[in-house]
Subunit: 345 residues, 2 copies
């Protein structure tokens, strides 16, 4: 075991042993998501962002919008191990849910984007996702649809408002409204003790007691937020000895954050995913290899805490995780402006 | 020119010459669409149908829902010449709009389905569209998602409600709500004389005077409805001599209804498409070869009425056709129930 591993194990064990302390730190999700100073969330941006998010004309052959892989009302995901992009190409990683992405300090599984704004640009220009040559090419499409211009002006003032940055800002502003602060768990934490069943409350205690909260902490259950000397990334899997899941689910085939930094210390380091709405987002893990939530719980207990859970405990924890779901705030389907001429081949 | 052609030309000319009579027959769209006796439209069916219509899990690899090619708030189409199905396979014909499909007496370009219920089953089991082995396989997926069962029960009573026929009925019921009875044209016909501009009113007169109404008649502008001795199909293109568009846009490569009946008289016979929301549905014609509405008007005038229109007339008619658009009734985005286990590869 490397020094790095030893440190992480010590951290995990330390936290596990102080599980009771974590149980006191249950946080409800805020009613609004934080926004950067240069992109305050406004209704006009959200309205435009919702349209753009659902517009497949932003993809090379017009078959994919952001919603294709992050279906808003389908849990923010596509329920596939890895997504399928233009030309039937498969991506390498499981699509993370868009719900509560606003509470992540960094975006993508490997944290390669620092903000939702930067994230929004990624898939558009990724050749195996939406497949545009660059984001400007998508903006050129939007510019050729006159019905979009009034929405950009309303959101960003007058002048040359149809720009790459404004497109990304609008999509990010919309995504900041995709939060689920009224789950049974939130209602429970806020005082409605009937919001969770007895089994769910047992699962909640066990979730903390066995140490899941070491990484899945905070209101979004997505781990420590950035602070001096504190990384938002965690190693997965942490325990390799006697861990049958690594080979079974190919957990180490992907190098994780190492692919971004080429720093050896970042091998198999991953952003901690939110557990909110996890019941909606099968299959699980960065490669989508695990089909059920109960198996995902077993894999995590073994791989991160070196624990083998009995079926009852797994059932209790899954019941608790179910309480982290929705409801998804109702929203109207966006009406997309027509193009005056066919722009897709 | 064959006897069949001569008869059709005589019909077209006779109608063109009596254009004034057609001008008196402008009909507004009814506020509700007709429904078959065995599938009355109910809120519960519409709610379920909207969910199923938007659920990509009904396709083989989970990438396509009905909405992928018939985007409801994108004009009911995909704005592509021909649609792209599972595995990046191209269909042979342009996706017709789902808006006001309820007013068609027959479904698909070649009329091979007699009802929306039958139509709904087609693309699910079409190997180059949604690609399921059969519709039952899609129903099996739905059955494996427990959250759907209460919606089927609410719509269809208790017992074994999750069936192929009920799935089709629910989707059809939803589609019967996708109608646009409040376009500027409808408001004009109902007495609001300010609803159309002077140019649109000129275009409306010319549309009738030159004979477009011969086929594009009735409230949905989709031609004569079925009656004894009356066909809902029309030949396209009708005039071949000196028609440059046939080669340019490959108008006769597809045999149309002949492919269904193998009857020579059905060669190049097509269901008359609705013109409602036509400004949203570029590109045009069964093969999507024509990119703009103004060019589509020129092609139709030459191919069906042997007329070459000047630019002013084309502009007026396009302005009138713009008045046949929307608004699309607002609707909430449907929340899709989660699957308890990953069901997609």
């Amino acid at each position: 075991m490397s020094r790095q591993d030893t440190r992480l194990v010590a951290l995990a064990l330390g936290i596990a042993l102080s599980g009771a302390a974590f149980a006191a730190d249950w946080q409800a999700l805020p009613d609004t998501a934080p926004a950067p100073a240069d992109n305050p969330t406004t209704p006009a941006k959200v309205e435009l962002g919702q349209m753009l998010y659902h517009d497949a004309r932003l993809s090379q052959n017009g078959t994919l919008s952001c919603a294709s892989c992050h279906s808003v009302m389908g849990g923010g995901v596509d329920n596939r191990p890895t997504s399928i992009g233009v030309g039937n190409q498969h991506g390498g990683r499981n699509a993370p849910t868009v719900w509560n992405a606003a509470f992540h300090a960094t975006q993508f599984w490997d944290g390669r984007a620092p903000s939702l704004e930067e994230q929004a640009k990624g898939p558009i220009a990724n050749p195996i996702e939406m497949g545009m040559p660059d984001v400007q090419a998508a903006v050129d499409r939007v510019r050729a649809i006159p019905g979009y211009k009034p929405y950009f002006d309303k959101a960003f003032g007058t002048g040359d408002t149809v720009t790459v940055d404004n497109l990304a800002k609008a999509i990010a502003a919309y995504e900041r409204t995709l939060i689920t602060p009224n789950s049974p768990y939130d209602r429970f934490v806020k005082g409605d003790k009937a919001a969770l069943s007895a089994q769910q409350q047992r699962g909640m205690e066990q979730f903390a007691a066995i140490g899941c909260t070491a990484c899945h902490s905070g209101a979004a259950f997505n781990g420590p937020q950035p602070a001096p000397g504190k990384s938002v990334f965690q190693k997965f899997p942490l325990f390799a000895d006697g861990n049958p899941y690594i080979a079974k689910y190919k957990l180490t085939d992907d190098q994780g954050r190492y692919d971004v930094t080429k720093n050896d210390a970042d091998r198999h380091m991953w952003r901690v995913p939110t557990l909110r709405n996890i019941a909606w987002t099968a299959p699980y893990f960065h490669n989508g290899e695990v089909k059920t939530l109960s198996e995902a719980v077993r894999v995590m207990a073994k791989s991160q805490l070196n624990r083998e859970l009995d079926d009852a405990t797994v059932g209790d924890i899954v019941a608790f995780l179910d309480a982290l779901s929705g409801p998804f705030p109702k929203q109207e389907m966006p009406q997309l402006p027509p193009a005056p001429t066919a722009m897709l081949e």
